[in-house]
């Protein structure tokens, strides 16, 4: 019995799961997807936050946001639509009320944020840049641009370039641009964000969708449309991560319907350096840890000693 335990421990020691995202070193590639893990504390009863590769918190804006009218969530086949409306407590409340708790853990903290205008993006990024113990920034560019008739920032290459470049100029923290999948050419958007100075890309954000109640003839969401997530979007997410991986030199963080370790490994094979667990947290609050342990088991069983062997390991011929 004790011999078995010793063997198991040495197996672990021989495996390297660490990855780097720009100058940020993660002890393993399992991150949380913004908006699905609250500010970390919501899950701390279930998950040892120290074990996570990184914690990405709910997206912050300059001022608190009230969010959208209900219903905000509706289930669809193997997925869910949400229209939360970017509800959040605002960047200053986060720094004052939520960050002190997160600081106690050994996982890097990546703060997701957004703005209504490029100026707002800059202002939020500046505020976050000046705070200790934030290890990286992830900018959500799938939100509406007040200065362009509320068109989504990340669906226009020129606007994408300008907003990423503006944020790049005000922060030296590792900067991740989270791409919108609601575009014709995801590789183009990826290239633009890279050229504008992003250190890494994360994708995909949710796909815009809709559901209708045929009896009342009303949209099932209070705001009519929402973002689709969950297993239903995984094939699209994989394809997009693969296309982006082939196009850019900076690291790609893959996400979109990852429910288990096999899903995570698929993303790594098509090129994701790290992966983020989103909707799965709602289904299983231990999903992040289950996925981490599942990756370790897969590596052990397949005699993979370094996780880098998986990244981009797809065989196409």
């Amino acid at each position: 019995m004790s011999e078995r335990v010793t063997l198991y421990a040495s197996d672990i020691l021989l495996m390297n799961l660490s990855v780097t995202i720009g100058k940020l070193k993660l002890k393993n590639p399992v991150m949380t997807a913004s908006g699905t893990f609250g500010y970390g504390e919501e899950y701390s009863d279930f998950v040892d936050l120290n074990r996570l590769g990184a914690i990405v918190v709910k997206g912050l804006s300059l001022l608190p946001r009230e969010g959208n009218p209900p219903p905000r969530i509706v289930e669809t086949p193997a997925g869910m639509l949400n229209s939360i409306g970017l509800q959040n407590i605002g960047v200053e409340n986060f720094i004052r009320e939520k960050l002190p708790f997160l600081r106690k853990f050994d996982a890097p903290i990546i703060v997701n944020f957004f703005g209504d205008t490029i100026g707002e993006y800059e202002e939020v990024a500046r505020k976050l840049n000046d705070v200790d113990s934030i290890h990286g920034l992830e900018m959500n560019i799938s939100c509406p641009n007040k200065e362009a008739s509320w068109k989504i920032f990340g669906t226009d290459p020129e606007v994408t370039f300008r907003v990423v470049q503006a944020v790049r100029k005000v922060t030296d923290l590792p900067l991740i641009a989270k791409l919108s999948p609601n575009v014709t050419d995801i590789a183009q958007m990826a290239r633009v964000a890279e050229d504008a100075g992003a250190d890494a890309l994360s994708l995909i954000n949710t796909l815009t969708g809709m559901a209708v109640d045929i009896k009342t003839r009303r949209p099932k969401l209070g705001k009519f449309t929402g973002g689709l997530s969950g297993p239903a979007i995984k094939p699209i997410a994989l394809r997009m991560v693969w296309e982006v991986y082939k196009t850019v030199r900076i690291p790609v963080i893959g996400m979109g319907g990852i429910m288990n370790a096999n899903d995570a490994i698929e993303f790594m094979l098509v090129g994701a350096r790290a992966i983020a667990v989103g909707t799965a947290n709602f289904i299983n609050p231990l999903a992040t840890i289950d996925i981490l342990e599942g990756i370790e088991t897969f590596m052990r069983e397949n005699k993979i000693t370094d996780i880098k062997e998986l990244i981009g390991g797809l065989k196409c011929h």
Binding site: E75, I84, P231, N284, P285
Partner: protein
Amino acid sequence: MSKYFRARIKENRKLNKDHNLLILTPLTPIKEPEPGQFYMIGMGREEYDPLLKRPFSPLSSSPESIQILYRIRGRGTLIMSNMGEGSVLDILGPLGNAYPMPARNHIPLVIAGGIGIASLFSLSKKLSKRAYIFYGARKRNELLLMDELKNFAKELFISTNDGSVGEKCDITDILKRFLNSQSYLSDKFLLYLCGPKPMLKAILEIIKDRKINAYVSMEENMACGIGACLGCAVKTVKGYKMVCKEGPVFPIEEIVW
């Protein structure tokens, strides 16, 4: 004791066309809920469809057994109704807040519409013989657990819209009559409500000029159950609140209808 556990279906008893009683055996020790709290129950399906857990209030819950009364209303509950003995479910809970208990001089009135009784049953039991229970539904087969409720109630009032059992009216009509006949006790009444929105709004109309306090258990579509997804927002006078964490029980005057 984890709030995330598995339980085996001991029985999934069909009560009638639309309602089942689910009896579960937890596979690990559980924390016992207070009346008003709920569980998120997932069907643990490999194909992730249905994807999300569903919130249910237990009729009773002990380390040995959890009883869930549910109405087959959508795709999730339909699939759940076909799950057999021995199937294992994923459960998160107990979650949310509880009904505040009445003070000694309060006269509790429990008002349930349809499947709303599932949330109020354990409260009624705990209030043993103290509460006046008002229980309304559209038709006979939607009125359940009548024998138990008769036992728990100081007095039980029943109505159906088709008159198949009890009085043919809305339960709010009976409540109004009761309050009118006992108006000198208005400041002693404490109401506990769970049911469809039209019922809740009608009750608000009845009580708003009488200075009667009421607690209402709210319902919204929900994903995580622990305040992370911000999906189950309900509009209150203090902005949006989350049904799963800040509720499901709210003072009725806080809700913006």
